[in-house]
């Protein structure tokens, strides 16, 4: 696939390259069994399967074990390459994989996880019959649909000509303009909570995609320096690793007041994760738990907050300032306060967002889901006459490309992505990021053995692939509504419907919300 260049951003989009799973056995929606007693190794299955499920290289006596995750499933029956039909010995069987009952949850269903594994592998929308755009949560984004487009509006425009970039400095101040080529960037993941290769891989992908990633509150590893134009320095309440040079390095600094997954609670890095390298980076003691308190003890008013912003702006005279807050009842007031204090970006983090560790009671119960907060803040900023002078970024429960598009249609300029990045590198959301040695899959860990399970190049390419697959979705969507830029989608909530607000007849026109009851 040849690299693309967008007219609007003049940024050369990165190349998609297939990059396989790190694991020997991939997980598919179906189990395909080839009965070895019956199979005569004729190679017919490998010959006809266009998806590479059956592979039998030349000079091999037998085909390989079927690569199940590539199988398009029972819908293949309608095609001319249905292996079961063609097998002369009836040796092949296909059935749903019961493993999927034990994978995923209401928000990230097993199919959404598999869909993202597939996109990260191939850079294309999955060809398998899996639902990767909708979760099973029964509300919010999962009940919203884009309306059927008017066919007369469709424009004929190549993907590379469609503008998916967003502006991050709309204030008109003397600071530099900053445009990123994607309507989303990477959320904060700290050195300490996440493996170094993962966060550096994210930075490498951000550079290629002309996007951003964020340090989280774990200091600024020197490995970031080659990509510093794409790394946001986060300043959070523990101030770990915050130094003059780390503020000077960055194009954007982010004040994190709160995190959607644990609003009002602060952070806690368990002692096990504070290795020598982490302690050095954070200027703390090996093995000691690290608390990021809540709130900023130097900020008890908007004036105090402005003092912080001014301080950062003095240290780096070209830095843009992002304010990350969660979503309390008065999130609209908080956003306006942050704007008047000099923020370029207001970043609202909804309550269903990800985290390396948080009390379950906080994840479920405190603050509002992002779907409510976006229109609330968007409207209030409009009423204040400030909407076009600040960039509104949403995060916390934005799982896939269509969620990003829905968030933008509700009023955000763009989104911040965390969990999906990790899913692209094969996180299964088991939730054990914080316990013991950390993530058993080598993602959210600083364990010397586990932390080396992933290399940066793998992370970089998997992320590029996933975001390029998302980009294709956005381009298709924009084209269908006659829009040339994703900026034109902002606030176009007229393009959205919510299934619960439609008459029964109207509702039937849209894909129903998945509603499988799960065992939690």
């Amino acid at each position: 696939m040849s690299p693309q260049t967008t007219n609007q951003t003049k940024h050369k989009l990165p190349e998609i390259k297939e990059i396989r799973s790190r694991f020997r056995n991939t997980i598919g929606k179906y189990i395909i069994k080839r009965n070895t007693a019956k199979c005569i190794a004729c190679g017919k299955c490998a010959e006809i399967c266009p998806h590479g499920v059956h592979v039998m290289p030349e000079n091999y006596l037998k085909p390989f074990r079927p690569i199940e995750h590539k199988c398009m499933g029972l819908s293949c029956k309608e095609t001319e390459h249905y292996c079961i039909e063609h097998c002369p010995e009836d040796a092949i069987t296909i059935k749903p994989n019961p493993l999927l009952d034990t994978l995923g949850d209401y928000r990230w269903t097993s199919e959404m996880l598999l869909g993202h594994f597939s996109m990260a592998e191939t850079g294309q929308a999955p060809h398998q019959d899996i639902e990767y755009n909708l979760g099973n949560s029964g509300g919010g984004f999962d009940k919203m649909r884009f309306i059927e487009p008017d066919s007369s509006l469709v424009i004929d425009m190549a993907d590379e000509d469609i503008d998916t970039s967003i502006e991050l400095n709309k204030t008109g101040d003397e600071r530099p303009k900053k445009t990123i080529s994607m309507p989303c960037y990477g959320g904060g993941m700290s050195y300490g909570s996440t493996a170094l290769s993962v966060i550096v891989g994210r930075a490498r992908a951000a550079q290629k995609l002309n996007s951003l990633t964020c340090t989280g509150e774990g200091g600024y590893p020197p490995n970031f320096l080659p990509y510093k134009e794409h790394v946001i320095t986060q300043v959070a309440t523990g101030l770990f690793g915050v130094r003059e040079e780390t503020i000077q390095n960055c194009p954007i600094m982010e004040f994190k007041y709160a995190q959607g997954a644990k609003p009002g609670l602060g952070g806690h890095l368990l002692g096990e994760k504070v290795t020598e390298a982490v302690a050095k980076m954070r200027e703390t003691v090996v093995g000691n738990s690290l608390f990021s308190p809540f709130p900023f003890h130097s900020v008890y008013s908007v004036e105090d907050h402005k003092k912080h912003v001014d301080w950062m702006k003095e240290i780096n005279t070209s830095v843009l300032c992002s304010i990350k807050v969660s979503t309390p009842t008065d999130v609209d007031m908080v956003a306006v306060g942050a704007y008047y204090a000099g923020a370029h970006i207001i970043h609202i983090d909804g309550s269903y967002g990800g985290t390396g560790a948080a009390p379950d009671i906080a994840k479920k119960n405190i603050a509002m889901p992002i779907e409510y907060a976006i229109p609330k803040v968007h409207r209030f900023l409009e009423e204040e006459g400030a909407r076009d002078k600040v960039t509104l970024i949403a995060s916390g429960g934005i799982r896939n490309g269509l969620d990003v598009a829905k968030a933008i249609a509700l009023g955000a300029d763009g989104c911040v992505i965390g969990t999906a990045d990790l899913v692209a590198v094969e996180c299964v959301r088991c939730g054990n990021c914080e316990s013991g040695r950390g993530c058993a899959r080598g993602i959210a860990t600083t364990d010397p053995e586990l932390g080396n399970m992933i290399d940066e190049a793998y992370v970089e390419q998997r992320l590029i692939n996933m975001y390029m697959a998302w980009r294709k979705q956005w381009c298709d969507l924009l084209r269908s509504y006659g829009l040339k830029s994703i900026k034109e989608l902002r606030g176009r909530s007229d393009l959205l419907v919510h299934l619960d607000y439609l008459d029964e007849e109207e509702r039937k026109q849209y894909q129903p919300a998945p509603s499988k009851k799960l065992v939690l």
């Binding site: 990230w108 009002g264 009842t329 269903y352 996180c427 299964v428």
Partner: protein, 472 residues
Amino acid sequence: MPKKYHIESKAAPPRFYPVGKYATIEFREECAGSCKKCVKKQCVYNIFKDNYLHHSKMDEPEYLYTCNSCFRCVQECTKGIFSRVVNPEYREIGDDYWTPDVLNRTWYQAHTGSIPVSGAGYRGPFVGKGFDSMWTDMSEIVRPTRDGIHGREYINTCIELSRRPERLAFNEDGTLAIKTKPILEIPLPIIFQQPDFGVLSKAVLISMLNAAKTMNTKIMINVADIDEEVADFGGTLIPQIGKENVQNYKELIGQVDMVDIDYSDNFQDTIKTLKAINKDICISVMLPLSAKIDYAKTCVEISKADMDTIHVVADSSGREFDSDNPRFIKDMLRDIHTALIDASMRSQINIIASGGICMAEHVNKAIICGADGVTIDRSLLIAMECRLCDRCKDGLPCPVEFETIDAEYGSNRIVNLMVAWRNQMLEMLGAMGLREARRLRGEVGRSMWFEDLERENFAPIFGERKVSIDVG
């Protein structure tokens, strides 16, 4: 520094292997045998330590309480012989309200005394029924009430059970001009309630009593079950007394701080009798929340009597009695709380809510809806490993042998659960910027409700909602 209310937890591992969520399945006939890369040996969590010599130990597939769902064994086995399914036994435990997840988390907390913490984001439905249709608020920047994570110990979870005077009056010299009765308070808004089922052996009962005493709270217990040994718990007890037998328990009534009586037509006569025996005794009046009565109005009527606390009771799922379409306790509490405010009685009396409280978050949410505190009963049994299998109700043996429980162990498990619950309450209170559980009472402004959020944020975009909101 003021003295802090702090109860130590101590790990109390389960006596019986808990019902785990997942079962691993191995297709052993395809196993490579002495594979040097056997994933069982490489498990990060070492959960196979007892059986990775699988050929010599031909056990049944194990149900793993400890499996952390990392899928590495499934994905790395050289022969691909591993798979997993949801443990069918796990699906069967509990019911729609007391879900397997609730039971599993309760066991974990009773085991460790720790609050459930995990990585990744929330996994559940967008919204649910009952308490799952509301969120609590938090304060973003202006937080004069707290001092970070270490200030949490000073959040007060104390509630009163005694009546407060309508107003204070003072003499010219500044002394009180009215008589006030002794204040009865407990340090956490949770009272234990003797469960109405289960193998309630003496040891089980003593476990609950010991735990209540350790936590410095109280336990409501049927007066008929109070023998000499139980009576020794004195101030920890809240005997539940029917009007007909008040006279039979004069001595006991003289020794306790509080009793719980049934609401009836002549409950005021019972109160008089009780006061004649013990003039300072606190009295709670128990009112089942039945659709057949106007319970808000009844509560106002009760509040005007010489009592202290109204004890409203819903069924074990928090639902109204005697209704085909029962309301949930959160809505009933809001009605009762508001009716008492309208009658200018709310600040004088207390409301304790029973029914449907199965997680720590429910305590705070019930208080936001208007209760002062709650009672719990089933959770006490679950803390001691009960699986809500109902076998005891049919006279069948208990799978976790309640009859053999050691009272010290049982109380340890309950104390652990309460420590974990209280810590979770503190997390929520802290996030809200509140330093007192009492300040949370009826504080709906510190909460967000599904129906309000939909109306305020979605109605301007999507218009009129066509699917009715059923979050009751």
